[in-house]
Symmetry: C2
Subunit: 231 residues, 2 copies
DNA sequence: AAGCCCCAGCTTGCATGGAAGCTGGGGCCG
DNA sequence: CGGCCCCAGCTTCCATGCAAGCTGGGGCTT
């Protein structure tokens, strides 16, 4: 047995890490609803650890815009106004269109397998829609967009995209059942993939933008009609 | 004297905050050069505080990609490879072109004062260049780009832009004196402002993109010639 | 002489205690 | 009866102590 002195690559997660993941999941799944206010002590108790790792996890969550800590008062889960959703969509458009263009600018033998991956996910969306399985549809839709940025060859871009999607996850889930059947999405996705496959960067950019703008146009009125500061 | 019970808005900065700012400044100004490895204890001593606030500040810096903490080994200042710089420029292009387009899409009476502000900064750049004051030129150039995203009406976009610019600040400073006299920049900036003033979103987008791509094309070979992992 | 092993020292991870500050409500004063 | 004040309780902030783990070098074995 070789003595591994340098770099144990698969170390067990620290308490900070698990607190971070647990809190993020709780926020995403609405267990901690927006506006929820709690103390680190209380959260630490729930997670079965001391205050320190919870405190440090909350610092990270604050950095990502999911919570805000009010000094000496507690930590609150950030609520999203329609204004926030406008900002978020603008950032999503900026990052995602860039990713689509970057992929389209790759050499053909790099683009092809990526286009195939995207097509596969898109097929899964279509199948879910045929089964009337909206949850599976949303999951596959998320995977499509996540794949798009993950394959852009730009880890920083993918990371920024991830945090902005985390911020808006709740809002998308909320409106999932409210909006009309999303049949256009699959078609628009196909257009994006086609542009990528042909190496048409400008077109990929434009199609990705149009897709997101339409989705946003559908989402914002819904949110506005639901009440201002609610999610 | 009214008793301000709610929300003291101008509270003195916490130790965590000052540690964060001090460390960020030290990294920006190359006091802690990339690859520098130190212990939290040592930094805490230098800043005259305990390990705790330093530890928490480092968590934030790690979240922003400026440092990496190696468990039980210390914290190192991240070095940037040419590959990293490519990623960074791609993100800058994505965010900045979006900002330019957003401003150009505003109503005319909102665009005009912004264009005037941008023109003023641009004039300062030109003046600095006439004086051969490269440092002042770089400072004004940074202000131009920062202003562009700050006036986009999207705080999230501006924040993301700020962190990515923090990551790449050192590299820009390093190459400042190495590259040819930046006379084209002022002209290209004028083009961006003109497109904004006319409300031509597509053109503002394209000009902002071309400007950054040219700058990148100038920067990358310089960095490559300097040595791979150095900054 | 070369290679392995083990240990001393230094590092962060985490727990805990004290301090400072904000909040809300009960009591006091007008 | 109304409004102000003050304080008890809860919160985060920060310091510090202990534990676990990584590193590098000195000494031992072969």
């Amino acid at each position: 047995m070789i003595r591994m002195r340098h770099a144990a690559e698969a170390t067990r997660p620290s308490l900070v890490e698990s607190a971070y993941e647990a809190l993020k999941a709780a926020i995403r799944n609405n267990v901690f609803a927006p506006g929820y206010q709690g103390s680190e002590q209380e959260i630490a108790l729930q997670l079965g650890m001391s205050r320190t790792p919870v405190h440090e996890a909350i610092i990270r969550l604050q950095e990502e815009g999911l919570v805000r800590v009010l000094p000496r008062r507690g930590v609150v889960v950030c609520a999203l106004s329609p204004e926030d959703m406008r900002e978020i969509y603008e950032v999503i458009v900026a990052l995602e269109t860039a990713a689509a263009a970057l992929i389209a600018e790759m050499p053909a033998d790099a683009r092809a397998p990526i286009a195939a991956e995207l097509d596969a996910v898109n097929a899964a969306m279509e199948a879910a829609l045929a089964r009337d399985d909206l949850v599976a549809w949303a999951e596959a839709d998320g995977r499509f967009h996540q794949l798009l940025v993950a394959r852009s060859g730009n880890a920083r871009l993918a990371r920024l995209f991830g945090t902005i999607m985390d911020q808006s996850h709740r809002a998308r889930m909320l409106t999932l059942r409210l909006r009309p059947r999303p049949t256009v999405s699959v078609e628009e996705h196909r257009g994006i993939v086609a542009a990528i496959r042909h190496g048409a960067a400008e077109e990929a950019h434009a199609r990705a933008k149009a897709h997101r703008l339409r989705a946003r146009q559908q989402l914002l009125p819904l949110l506005a009609s639901l009440g201002m500061r609610h999610l």
